[in-house]
Symmetry: C2
Subunit: 98 residues, 2 copies
């Protein structure tokens, strides 16, 4: 494994470590108030494009990070579009002991 | 310019569009309350590692995005470590009409 790939995987761990807890908290609480629909749509598109870039270049650190972040942020954006009642039903299912 | 590079630059625009306004708002207001020192340190390290990965692979979309985000997030993390008085002095300088 070359040095760049090692650095890429370390970067991937950092990016996911800093993104996933925030995303999971939003999904569990269903609290999407602080999120701007427009800006989050740009974020989701960004992750999709980086994933495509990663596949075209066959760079697994980029693919891994951005596919995971794409699904999480895509889920959050979907919740943002849902009416409050449905959103709370989704987060209740995900966090039964709430 | 190959298709991957075009997609990479589009991804770069999306990532910076979704990160820069948030970062600039924090810098201008000096309001770092909502930021966790530990998590933001991981974020800054992530941007540094992605920049290194980009340079090692000579991928300009990755270099561009992550170097910009590294400096912005690094500035925010520095502000987070500053005592409140100094932090407010910094943001007052950046936003004189506040």
């Amino acid at each position: 494994m070359d040095m760049a790939l090692i650095i890429g995987y370390l970067a991937s761990v950092c990016s996911m470590t800093s993104f996933v807890p925030q995303a999971w908290k939003i999904i569990k609480t269903g609290d999407t108030e602080a999120i701007s629909k427009r800006m989050y749509t740009v974020t989701v598109i960004g992750f999709a494009l980086w994933s495509a870039f990663g596949f075209l270049r066959m760079e697994w650190p980029i693919i891994l990070t951005n596919v995971v972040c794409f699904f999480l942020s895509g889920f959050i954006l979907t919740m943002k579009w849902l009416p409050r009642r449905k959103r709370e039903a989704v987060s209740a299912k995900l966090d039964p002991d709430k």
